[in-house]
């Protein structure tokens, strides 16, 4: 380990993990633990931002790459972590006995994700994948209503274990075909049929993380059943890591992408359609967001299936802008939630009156997800679609754009509840300063990126340049 500075973001995370573990071990109040974790998370964001230009291979063998690809995604993961911890100020959806401990799992899982986006060797990748998953398995189970939490966690673990087993089998095939576990060497080995079969099987675990069809069905259940802050983390950081992972895995196919592309087109169309159509009928807001996440996995795949620098950059751009948008949505969930119960869409009624600012936050979130400017949702879709048309699939863009129209319906239903329906019995909502600041920061990020996407695009573009 010759260059310790290359590990800055990981060190910051490790520090946060140790501090929050210490809080849990001493048994401080939940609030102290939260403050410590939040401070560490903000430091992590700062460190990740400062570490953006770092590049190199910290280990003698080529198992861990620090380049602009990994650093950009690490910044995304640390932002998602900080937002999720800020949201965890209100922990009333979390089991009381676990409120001091949750942050430790956040950090552990985020550490796994950071390693995941840097891993360039299959075993390292697999270990990072598992590390990132275990924290989430535990987090998903911590809902204060035990049945809900257990169901969420059980689904998540069972699906996760199965997907992970299939991935492992895929990895063994890849090793058999290429006789190496180093991803760049595999990519250069020429893409034999056996290798492609291995990549396809490995994708199972990756698509699971992204919540894409056919391994998506945990997403709505787990989003719904996990504590609010855990769902936030799952919906944001996990997606960022999944995009990074997916790009690495797909790069192993070398130039032989034709069949993979056909498969990914099918997966993308089904993810979009299944996600959007199922979301139309949801009453629970978190569950709706779960299905919407499946649909967005489909959009993201559009960028990846074009196997080009433009497509990879578009996917990275999309997922980076997706983080603050989804944070806005979950912030509303956590703020509206009464005694930790999941808010139904009906319970958003009259939000414009109960808390005008929160109404605005919700509006930004829904417009962002639907791809309406001035949020970066439009630019994100535009870039993704550009990549797809560049790859020669005009009709696929038509399918995706029609899907976006369908999704607008249920996003507007949420807006309708918040802006049209009278508040009725629901009480006014007073935001805590932390929530106000978090909301302000995420809305400001969304609107800024919507009006001026150039900085994020050049980050995404430089990240994609590493792979293509």
């Amino acid at each position: 380990m010759s260059h310790p500075e290359l590990f800055c973001p990981e060190f910051a995370l490790l520090l946060g993990a140790l501090l929050s573990f210490a809080c849990a071990a001493i048994g401080t109040k939940a609030r102290t633990a939260w403050l410590v974790s939040l401070a560490a998370a903000i430091i992590t964001v700062g460190t990740s931002a400062l570490a953006l230009p770092y590049q190199g291979h910290p280990f003698a063998t080529d198992i861990y790459a620090v380049d602009s690809f990994s650093q950009v995604l690490k910044l995304g993961i640390s932002l998602a972590l900080a937002f999720a911890i800020a949201i965890s100020q209100r922990q009333d959806s979390t089991r009381a006995s676990a409120r001091t401990e949750v942050h430790f799992f956040f950090y552990l899982s985020a550490l796994g994700m950071m390693m995941l986006v840097s891993a360039t060797e299959l075993l390292t990748l697999y270990i990072a994948l598992e590390l990132s998953a275990y924290g989430l398995y535990i987090l998903a189970a911590l809902h204060r209503r035990e049945r809900l939490g257990s169901e969420a966690a059980a689904k998540y673990i069972l699906f996760g274990a199965a997907a992970s087993a299939i991935s492992l089998y895929g990895i063994s095939l890849i090793y058999g075909a290429a006789q190496t576990t180093y991803i760049p060497a595999i990519a250069a080995s020429g893409g034999s049929p056996l290798l492609i079969a291995g990549v396809v099987l490995t994708l199972a675990g990756v698509l699971y993380k992204l919540a894409a069809f056919p391994v998506h069905s945990w997403a709505p259940d787990t989003y719904q059943g996990a504590p609010h802050e855990a769902s936030t983390f799952l919906a944001t950081a996990s997606k960022v890591a999944a995009v990074g992972l997916l790009l690495r895995v797909l790069s192993m196919a070398g130039g032989n992408t034709e069949h993979l592309r056909t498969m990914l087109i099918v997966v993308a169309i089904l993810s979009m359609s299944v996600g959007n159509l199922s979301a139309l009928f949801q009453k629970d807001f978190k569950r709706l967001l779960g299905f919407s996440a499946v649909a967005h996995a489909g959009y993201l795949l559009l960028g990846l299936l074009s196997f080009s620098k433009l497509g990879a950059a578009a996917a990275i751009f999309y997922v980076l802008t997706y983080v603050p948008i989804v944070v806005c949505a979950f912030l509303v969930v956590a703020a509206v939630s009464h005694n930790g119960a999941n808010p139904s869409i009906a319970s958003l009624a009259g939000l414009y009156k109960r808390s005008p600012f929160l109404g605005l936050v919700l509006l930004v979130a829904m417009f962002g997800l639907a791809g309406i400017p001035p949020t970066p949702g439009l630019a994100g879709k535009w870039f993704l679609f550009s990549a797809v048309i560049d790859a020669g699939h005009l009709w696929l863009v038509l399918v995706a754009a029609v899907n976006a129209t369908i999704s607008l319906y249920y996003y507007l239903l949420v807006v309708k509840a918040a802006y049209l329906d009278p508040p009725g019995e629901y009480p006014d909502i007073k935001l805590s300063p932390t929530y106000s600041i978090t909301a302000f920061v995420s809305v400001a990020l969304v609107v800024f990126m919507g009006f001026y996407p150039a900085p994020i695009w050049s980050m995404a573009s430089s990240a994609a340049a590493v792979l293509f």
Binding site: F385, S386, I389, A401, A404, T405, V415, L420, A454
Partner: protein, 483 residues
Amino acid sequence: MSELPILSILLLCPLVAFLVTLVLPESKATAIKAVNAVAGLVTLVLSVIVWAQYDETAGGYQMVEDIPWVADLGIRYTVAVDGVSVVLTLLNAIVFFTGVLSMWTLEKRVKEFFAFMGLLVFGVFGVFISLDIFVFFFFYEVAVLPMYPLIAIWGSTRKEYSAMKLTLFLMVGSALLFPGLIALFVESGGQTWNLVALSEPGTFSEGFQIFVYPLLYVGFGILAGMWPFHSWSPIGHVAAPTAVSMLHAGVLMKLGAFGILRIAIGVLPLGAAYWAPTFAFMATVGIVYGAFVAMRQTDFKYVIGFSSVSHMGIVLLGLNTLGIDGTNGAVFQMFAHGVMTALFFSAVGFIYDQTHDRDIRHFGGLVGQIPVASSFFIVAALCGMGVPGFASFWAELLVFIEALRVFPLLGIAAIAGLIFTAAYILRVLGQAIFGPKNPDWDHLVEPTAWLTLPRIILIAVLLFFGFAPSVMLDMIGSVTGGK
């Protein structure tokens, strides 16, 4: 050319009004209205200045501002005006200003109303002046979405249904535009999104043009109320509150026609030539069908809503002739129809605010009860019939002359449609305005001087361009090449 970035200032006016509106507390309703009225007035003054500064003899795009936006992808914030944008920018400013004044009596959720309205106007200005396809589409979407809350919250008559239907229809249009617009970029070599560069002859093969043109034409056409995708439009009109109806029919539908003219026809002329007979036929059906349906309506706003379908059919027919007179007439009609419909909705809105009734059969002899308010309605009606002396006369005349030349049969059918137009308008006038007096409405009061102002402005504009059409035609002609 001015050194001052006048177009960007014009664009920022409604955005500043939007931000100030967001900051002001809900209780300061009058201040919010005043801020927006001032912003409207400033945009009006600025767009008149733009008109005056535009050099008609030089033609082309003027007052260009060009800043990289997403440099890596070749996306640039490029704004400029040509004769058509000058005209439509003025239209938007007029409708914005008079719309704010027409909503002076609004009491429900004033802050949010003007915030959404400011955002909408901002988007419309952006569309009219941007030359970059991405920027164009960005503003296009900004303009479309605020319609949902504006109708759903402040509207009437099945407002939630209408708002949702309108939004989904328009988004289906966008779904067609997405592949169409991006295909232009990719096919041209992936270097530029600039409309002027893409309009160079020879950029696109004929086969490509024929393939992509319908995507763009129908995508934009849905917003322009093209038959058979018009059904969102009348119900949207009916449900929307006055200023929103004014903006919707007055400006928003023009975005669609403008998109067809500038992007679909401008960039893909060979595709346009191939598809012109088909789409001209559909436009003619729209003219006749809209007028027919309007004859059977009993709700004031439905009559105007279907008349908009009919009048926008004239615009689309003019565009599809692909000739100089036809295009001049179409753009003139966009302007005239925008102002006229704004006046119509403003007049109906005034009556509805007092009566909460829009059924034509419930009224009679309004001219005796509220002569001033009725006269506004009568003026709009005359203009809608295309009576000489009003702007729309010249517009329709030009379109029909060109249509008779290019598509004789369709031209005759369209002119026959005018007879129905006269019929439905005279029916409304005969029943509600002049018919036997209905004593239920004796208590109605005339508009205050303040509320009269916006209507006076609209009438003045209609008459001015009715008597001096050459002012308008010189401006439009600087683009199309004819006077």
